[in-house]
Amino acid sequence: MRFSFTGEQEEFRTILRRFFEGRSPTTEVRRLMETEAGWDREGWRKLNQELGLTAVAIPEEFGGQGFGCAELAIVCEEMGRALVCAPYFASAVLAANAILNAGTGSQKSALLPGIATGDTVATLAFTETDGRWDAAATTTTATPSGGGYRLDGAKSFVLDGHTADLIVVLARAPGTSGEDGLSFFTVSGDAAGLTRKALKVMDPTRKLARLEFKSVEAKLLGTAGAAAAPFAKTMLWAAVCLANEMAGGADKLREASLDYAKMRMQFGRPIASFQSFKHKAADMLVEVELAKSAAYYAAAAIDESDEDIVAVASLAKACASDTYLQTAIHAIQIHGGIGFTWDNDTQLWFKRAKSSEVFLGDATHHRDVMMRRWAA
């Protein structure tokens, strides 16, 4: 296992950090978060034209750059740091991986190049109203009709679901249960019978939608009834990318709080000079470094097809869930009254930490997955 980034990876990170510092200052984050879409095409186009970010982990044969999970995770980490408002996680992490893992060769050739350039914004709709993250919870049905299928049901918590051009949907054959009978389908964002509603989200920098399908025309993606395995693989990548994104956010908050504490005077001295602050700051560093190590290790484990990856991915997500939230709680506390205001940026990361804590499953869920692997 690699325990350090290559020179190119470090350079990639440096470029991204500078790019996002310039393009995604919190004034821009706040502007976009107030819109219903949550992102805009113009910024998205630049992100892809200038850096080709959506293409990073898509294989070259499908118009991508052919890098691995480590590079994708670096992008996510840097986006998490800067709270970039873009449909990146939906399109480049969730949808692209679902298509890669499930699609036939010709489907990949048809769908991935558009995603890679950013011209197509895609997402993956799997969770339903009950908020369960496992495939077995799927109740949306796909009924064969003519040469294709018709979808009926509802999906919820769909990342950028109200703005995506292409929606990959997890659905099941009527009468099936558990992991049987599950298939992926692709649906156009403007398909007839599809109602899309933006949900009111606690973290306005990451938009979620509820999608209702009433006999919506859909194309099968990959093999009928065989989506469980590709879905699981997609969720592994997603958990690892999210853990990296969260580690990035936590690290940013930790640094910002430290900077503030060095500057803020009370009792005639910087609050960073109080021993209780120093201990807190040291503990925060320990926690965030642990979360980063777990997130980096998990990304490397994916790239090296480590057989422990299921446990490791969940370990990373659980660790990131706890750490990001705890760091955010500390960050507000360190800022005092100003940390509780709308205008102070700490709250933006706090809310991202809060939503990421449960997105794709909370720490308890992931610890359980890990233990089922390791304690079986």
Binding site: M202, Q266, F267, T341, V358
Partner: protein, 419 residues
């Protein structure tokens, strides 16, 4: 005279309420009756609207109010701190002028303590009060002032002397908020509410009789206010909800809830709403989740033990014993409870915890808990300050060497440029 017992006092209160409570009275009219009879604040002195009864009888008397549906005196917000401070340090004129209107709810108060440059270090205030001719003239800025937009009166801590150590140069005033020289600007909080404000003074005026105690004694008076504020954070306060009963007094109380009490409507949420936990776990079918059950049990243990700690502290106080260390712990414990409750509510709520407003559980109440609890460990003195107080004043650990208490305030390094 027969012996006064809780039972005899409750019987007396019940009889009085039965004779006088009438929901068709105006709210202020009714509360004036409470003030005259002493039943609104029975632990206050007889001379000042009370009955000189032990604090411990309060809960029983409140139950009598509840039983008959009678409305109590106005209690929400800073007005209770104003009353406690005025009772302890005010002149008869202050008591005459302010206490009754505090009880009737006619006056709303705010606390002008924190400043941009001094929060934890309250004694570092730089808002200045200068005596000019026959009045005090105030210049400077306060911040995080809850309810300043509703308040007609304020408790103000300001600097009157820059040449003495910081604690010695402060004075405490009562300020009339209704003057053009006082400007209130709302501040939006991370939970979307705007219950606190920035307050600017440009030659605001205070008549000499509204100085509380003496010049230079502001810190001692402020300590009384803060002690009451922190004691009030021990979790024993029940956040009244407006009733749905019919009658003029109830109608007017509902208006009060929607106006002057409005800034406090999210306060129950910031404490974590432990009361909702079992109900929510049941409603979501998660009561059987073994991991969650343990977390809920831990939260309930902490919350119950905290309640009993607060009761123990109050009981000791009622028996005239000096308050033991238990009394200082309440505020700190309330932060632990709020955070633990946030974790439990998140676990119960799952993916729905990503939502807010009408799309989220209980019409946004759960979401409001999650984005409001960070205030608990900041407002009224941060957790770190509470720990310092517990360690240094209760446990008598050696004091931190101080860099700013022994020199003239003028020479102390601080955030805002010296004037």
């Amino acid at each position: 005279m027969s012996e006064v017992t809780e039972a005899s006092v409750r019987a007396e209160a019940r009889a009085w309420l039965k004779e006088h409570w009438n929901p068709e009275l105006g709210l202020v009219e009714w509360r004036n009756k409470l003030a005259d009879s002493g039943w609104g604040v029975p632990h206050w002195p007889k001379q000042w609207y009370g009955r000189d009864l032990p604090v411990g009888f309060g809960a029983g008397i409140e139950e009598e109010f509840k039983a008959i549906g009678a409305i109590g005196v106005a209690k929400a917000g800073i007005r209770t701190l104003a009353a406690a401070t005025i009772l302890a340090h005010g002149t008869d004129m202050h008591k005459e002028k302010f206490l009754r209107r505090i009880l009737t709810g006619e006056d709303t108060w705010c606390q002008l303590f924190s400043e941009p440059g001094s929060g934890s270090d309250l004694a570092g205030a730089v808002t200045r009060a200068e005596f000019e001719g026959n009045k005090w003239v105030i210049n400077g800025q306060k911040v995080w002032t809850t309810s300043a937009h509703h308040a007609n009166w304020a408790l103000l801590l300001a600097r009157t002397n820059w040449d003495v150590p910081k604690h010695k140069g402060l004075s405490y005033f009562i300020l009339d908020m209704h003057q053009p020289a006082v400007e209130v600007r709302p501040l939006k909080q991370m939970n979307g509410h705007a219950s606190f404000n920035q307050v600017f003074f440009t030659d605001a005026v205070i008549p000499p009789e509204f100085l509380v105690t003496e010049v230079g004694n502001g810190w001692a008076v402020a300590t009384t206010t803060l002690m009451h504020e922190r004691r009030g954070a021990d979790g024993l306060r029940s956040w009244a909800a407006s009733s749905t009963s019919k009658g003029r007094a109830y109608d007017e109380e509902r208006i009060e809830f929607a106006t002057t009490n409005e800034p406090y409507k999210w306060y129950p949420q910031r404490a974590g709403r432990v009361d909702l936990v079992l109900e929510r776990a049941r409603a979501t079918g998660k009561l059987g989740d073994l991991v969650l059950r343990q977390e809920i049990a831990k939260l309930l243990t902490m919350s119950k033990a905290a309640e009993w700690t607060a009761r123990r502290a109050r009981a000791a106080q009622e028996q005239g014993r000096p308050q033991g260390p238990e009394g200082s712990l309440g505020k700190l414990i309330s932060s632990h409870i709020a955070r633990a409750a946030g974790r439990v509510h998140t676990s119960i709520t799952g993916a729905d915890a990503m939502l807010t407003g009408e799309d989220s559980p209980m019409g946004g109440v759960i979401a409001e808990i999650l984005v409001s609890i960070p205030a608990t460990s900041i407002a009224g003195g941060t957790d770190e300050i509470q720990r310092n107080i517990i360690a240094e004043r209760v446990l008598r650990t050696p004091k931190e060497p101080s860099v700013d208490t022994d020199k003239p305030f003028r020479d102390v390094p601080r955030n805002i440029a010296k004037k």
